[in-house]
Symmetry: C2
Subunit: 265 residues, 2 copies
């Protein structure tokens, strides 16, 4: 058996999330990808894929990484390139396989990841976005980005992020400590439409953590809460005290990092 | 009567071009906008709108400007803002009104324009784009941007662009001389997907001129033609010698410029 790493992008709107569901009629990223891999590689059973970051329905990915094992000798670069082209011919336009290569034995896209980056895009104009409509949250009221940055700094470092996690997925005994290494607020032009970009990098993330952080920071930027409220919310370890979950369409799983040795085979 | 200037964005895919068509069942930008204006302003007849740059089916606009006249006293900034919000509530998500204001009497979005800027976006990777799919032309073969820039420079200045114009729209007697003041080739990130951007500014453009220029320059960048071929194509004044018309979805009518005095009322 050999282990492979596959990188793919997808537009979240077209999928009911990453994870395969029991009902095969529900279109998921994992289901679509595994079926395409089985067809292209002529496998009798679907390969078991593991992803770097499970995304919910509507959430996009730029560089999602997926690992899986295949029987037979290791495929070389040319063979991998042909498989990528075949996969792209087979999968819908809302999914694009960017790369496939051999990884070291036992590589796991999930457990070997050392950092993950998410980006959340906000369109902050009184009129609605046109081009960025499917990729951004439209917040018409002017946001105070200085207050947003001030509040964001409180989240840097290692904390128990229980308040920033969907409550059903965090039973009392579960470890909800994570480390955020970067939160940056940038402005990007998206075909001429200006987007506020909240860039969050950390070791790992809880369910809906980025969206609850963004929803809370936006309430600070709208003056509904003070930056210091974020400290109190963190300390309370209570989801009900944090802000709303920002909508899925503004979130992109941007990239994931692995130790270089994972790919020295 | 007072004259107004309205700025709007739209996603081309959802419209059969800008220009209203005789068949009211065909969805056009102009038809949708005029109907929305009549509803919001409670007009008995549709206002007659004039646009800065007519776009074909599938072509997008970031800052299209439209002029029209309205009876009654001049509307102030607050009233204009309310009308913009009402128009956005009424029009589909693929259209967004950004601004409305009073212009000087007789202002024409078309005839008063002193320069127009188009941007053409190309995704130049072996795999297909995900986020930029609806806004870029996917060219999988690596493009030589130095050759593209070299060829583009031949198009700068005042020329007879008959070779770069849909032949049916250029009868022998029609003036096909236009001036291009800037052609720049830039690289932009679109939510992390790198796009080659061809930025073209000129006084006015012929039918399909930008798309035929881009199609021809891409053939140079693919090594199918030399940069010097562009000189020969210009001189020949024959559409059949130029390259293909690049697809509509990569083109955005980016902005238009007017003398400041058009808006001093």
């Amino acid at each position: 058996m050999n282990t492979y790493a596959l990188t793919l992008s997808y537009e979240g709107l077209d999928f009911s999330g990453f994870a395969r569901q029991k009902d095969d009629h529900i279109t998921t990223v994992q289901g679509t990808l595994e079926q395409a891999l089985a067809t292209v590689l002529r496998l009798d059973t679907l390969p078991q894929t593991i992803c770097a970051g499970r995304t919910d329905a509507g959430v996009h990915a730029l560089s999602q990484v997926v690992s899986f094992e295949l029987p037979g000798p290791g495929l070389d670069t040319t063979q991998c390139g042909q498989i990528v082209r075949s996969l792209n011919a087979l999968t819908p336009a809302s999914m694009s396989v960017r790369d496939l290569h051999l990884a070291c034995g036992g590589f796991s896209a999930r457990f070997d990841a050392i950092s993950r980056e998410y980006r959340y895009y906000i369109f902050n104009e009184p009129y609605p976005p046109t081009f960025a409509g499917g990729f951004a949250w439209h917040v018409p009221q002017k946001l105070n980005l200085d207050a947003l940055r001030y509040a964001a700094d409180y989240l840097l470092g290692e904390h128990d992020f229980r308040s920033f996690c969907t409550s059903s997925s965090a039973p009392a005994e579960k470890n909800t400590v994570r480390e955020i290494t970067t939160i940056e607020v940038l402005e990007h032009s998206f075909l001429g439409e200006q987007l506020i970009t909240i860039r969050i990098v950390g070791n790992a993330f809880l369910h809906s953590m980025v969206r609850i952080i963004v929803g809370t920071l936006c309430e600070v930027a709208q003056g509904k809460r003070t930056p210091d409220d974020v400290l109190a919310i963190l300390a309370a370890k209570d989801r009900s005290l944090a802000g709303q979950t920002a909508p899925a369409q503004g979130l992109i799983f941007h990239r994931v990092e692995y130790p270089a040795e994972c790919f020295i085979v």
